[in-house]
Amino acid sequence: MKKLLSILSLLIVSAIVLSACGNKDESKGNQSSKKEDELYNKVKKEGILKIGTEGTYAPFTFHDKSGNLTGFDVEIAEEVAKRLGVKPKFMETQWDGMFAGLDAKRFDMVANEVTIDKDREKKYDFSDPYIQSGRVLIVNKENKDIKKFEDLKGKKSAETLGSDHFKIAKSYGSDVQSVEGFAQAAELVNQKRVAAAVNDKISFLEYTKKHPNASLKVVAEADNPAKMGLQFRKGNDKLVEEVNKALKDMHKDGTYKKISNKWFGEDVSPK
């Protein structure tokens, strides 16, 4: 037993050591400009921008009827890659896997309607916001007790693990059940296994369009809309700068508006 414990602590210590190393790599990038350019140069040299995304979050990133990856975020990311003069390579994984993948340098960027919030900004860099959306409180049509966010207290809600919707629900005292994505959350509200779900307004509208029989309704909308950005590891300022430039150009020449209109029928850029 003693031996076991000592091996166990050794294992955890080595994980700590490795984690310490890992971060060092990135924080060093903050200080020296030479390191900053490294990822940008690598992307340019290889001609490939590796992009992490879920692929299960319509209408932002999902597969169309013929199985191709598409959606608003996918098209924005494709357009950004085009303007950087490289090919986009999408790599799909679950929401929490996306952040792990970005950390592990499996992708250069994440395009998945990631909300820019304080906690995330401590660990990651974001592009300028490229979308703004409301956050809504979704309940079953038959539900009569939940009318506002405050009513979530003590009620079960289903939220994507690690999403800011998760944090919002928790902050109102909800008993949060963590799920892998919006589709599961909607299903659970539908089946009345949870009372509510906090999620994005646009994705809710898209879901009800596709599932007109779903027994879901919106009872409240949060005051402060969420702003989303493309997400990067810290210390790659040059890449972020170039991506921001691409986003600006897209706004200027009307490409952004075209993509936004195609998916939402309106301009969803941050006001």
Binding site: K24, L188, R193
Partner: protein
Amino acid sequence: MFLLNSIIADPGRLDDLLSIAGSSLWPMMKGAITYTIPLSLISFVIGLVLAVFTALARLSSIKILNIIARIYVSVIRGTPLLVQLFIIFYGLPNLGLTISPVPSAIIGFSLSVGAYASEIIRAAIISIPKGQWEAGYSIGMNYGQTLRRIILPQAARVSVPPLSNSFIGLVKDTSLASLVLVSELFRQAQEITASNYEFLLLYTEAAAIYWVICTILSIVQGRVEVRLERYTAK
């Protein structure tokens, strides 16, 4: 040197990691104690009972029992556990059958153990020499008595190592329960990482806890083997 530099450059980082490792240990252990271990134990016991009956059905001369047992084993072994859990949890409600997360997980895991373990038990029963059956019959025991008093105790001894394997496999498979809303050990790790993004540290910590649980189980296996030794005809 690299590491030393990194710690000198950012001494707060090490403190952060240590405090994260420390504060996350209890939630994960709690996940293990409240879900991982009970889920494994309950499912294994139910699965084992199911397995004994399935094995006997496979060995019996009653054709219909034989066919049912074969189909059950084939379906469960031929489909991924993850898919089975999703069907039970997300699929069955469409047929009007809504089962809570923990019972859903127990049903899924028990069915899985039942199918795999039935093959182990069947093999163990077959491995007991025919002479043991004949010995039972010759002193006037019937099928049931011979099975219960002579064959199964010996078969139990033979099946302990492979059954322990199944059990250890089950302990780790319970991490799949996170996908049907059971916040077991690994889900706790994921939830903690979701806010601090320390993937390497917390996943390693979770791995270490699974490993400790499974090592303790291996020790128990050794004890059980020694104890069952006395039933074996040599």
